[in-house]
Amino acid sequence: MKVEARFLLGLGLFFGVVGLVYWLWSGEDAGGVMLGAAMLLGFLPGSYYLYWSRRMAPRPEDDSTATPASGAGVVGTFPGSSIWPFTLGMGSFVTVLALVFGIWLLVPGLSLVAWALLGGVAESRRGGHV
């Protein structure tokens, strides 16, 4: 995880320095704010990875001498098929069409979104993955 942490923190540092130079030199706020936000997007997950990389033993994928057997065991749980992403996609589609064709379309659109979210969560609970 150390490489991941360094990668993200390095990007955050770069955007921080560039953003500061840009903002001081140009005095233009929009670009300064956007570069500042980019810096945070590097620092926030980067700090998280750095925190855990110092408290975890190297994972098999971080170990250059690991063999396939090193990772034996449960990798994760994966849904084989699910109708809920399609339902959520259609709900989002209808909701966006409401922005164009009329506010009434929000009723079926948001209903589909809510149904899909509830269905997806229930499916996760039944299937044992979260």
Binding site: V3, S26, E61, S64, G71, V96
Partner: protein, 557 residues
Amino acid sequence: MVDVLERPLTRAEPPPEAHGPTGLLKWLTTTDHKVIGLSYTVTAVIMMVIGGAFAEIIRAQLASPNGTLVSLAQFNELFTMHGSVMIYLFAGPFAFGALANIIVPIQIGAPDMAFPRLNALSYWLYLTGSITMLSGFFTAGGAASFGWVGYAPLSNSLNTPGAGADLWIGGLLLTGFSAIFTGVNLVATIFYLRAPGMTMFRMPIFTWNLLVTAILILLAFPVLTAGLIMLYADRHFGTHIFSVAGGGVPVLWQHIFWFWGHPEVYILALPFFGMVTEIIAVFSRKPVFGYRGMIFATISIAALSLGVWAHHMFTTGVVLLPFFSMMSLLIAVPTGIKIFNWIGTMWRGEVWFSAAMLMALGFLVTFLVGGLTGVYLASPPLDFFTHDTYFVVAHFHSVVMALVMAAMAGLYYWGPKFTGYLLNETIGKVQFWFLFVGTQVFTLPLYLVGLRGMPRRIAVYPHDPQWQFLNDLSSVGAVLIGISTLVFVANLVYSWKKYPAGDNPWDAQTLEWFTTSPPPHHNFYRLPPIRSERPTWDYNHPEHRSVPHGPSDRGSA
């Protein structure tokens, strides 16, 4: 419904039983990254054909000075939707949704993407976003007509009323969220689902490039989404964020749009750089030259790309010219390193000029032309002279046509992996020559006509023999490119299930070529030991085992 997956060991295991729905229901409910990636591929290629058809109409209109094929209003819709379809609906989704979805998990030994249902949602948002944007053509006022950049105040409700513009915004919102979700998924997959031994500096370059692309997506797309919401609010809720009349700032839209828009160029390009890197190494029978240098060049390009947005705004007169010029010129350095390394990979290799390799070489030449003219445009005095001319159109199309060649290279190279069948090589080479020659005949005259002062985005132009000749030549190039697309479709039909590929038809190097073609459910029956960035090559050619990377790897190979 749910598979609890255990890591495959080195011994062969029997194939798992097919499970889940079949037919149309399978497509609607699938969470398998390969099926989703194939859906992305088919949809993106359809979008390419639609966007290409718009381009052919545009070139037909411009083949004569006072073309009457389409009206002026229709021409505005056509060039707007040509750019929008090609950038938002073809190049981006093909780059990070199609081949990335299929190949990245397999390249790192993962059973699927980290969030399979989110992955499926990404596809449905992309498909519905595409339908939303294109449906503008079926509204009374026609499709969006303010250019693919949607500049304010041209895009406000006074200057561009009608549903077409709103459908453009809505379509972009949906595809934008699709991209963000894909970015999250790619980062999580690459960080958490790599096979044992697949350290970060053993990942294939394609996967590295997709990781960097995903980070760029997460940095850039939310900005565009926020901007679109502001634009919609200006159009319908009476806000004045981008209008001078209410105290707003029109040029703020350009800042927001290009803070997304320039990284977007690299969001499009980096995956294709990765594809080409893999293909050149495989068909030169060599490892990637300067593996770590390629990775750091990719990261440098991505980092710099976020600091160059206002080079698209030099002519506004309100941006810091030296800063943006310097940052833009700096990007040429890591890009040059990449080109050097691609040549270095081929150097003294046993180069096999397959259709995929020819496409990759076509990319290299065409991208070099587009990249070098980009260096000119990073210089404000030259940009002032050429900004609103066809020179910029030519530069941009050299770059994107290079990416189209890289996309074709990727399809010829990886298509056999996910379909199980090869495409016909001879027809592929015919397609390459139409595409390569057509691209140069299409773009090079546009540079010249731009330098002679022809503005872009015009449907008619004055009678000038030089302008007309160059436009005619460019239109001929567009026809050749169109023929190359027809040749590709003909190849798909001709080769349909004719040439079984086998697991590793190219004697390739990376992990996806270790599994079957097409890969089974959850991708692998077994995994090889991973001791370099070329595990399949190491396994198949123990006599040529790669030189290990990094101090911790030494002695372990």
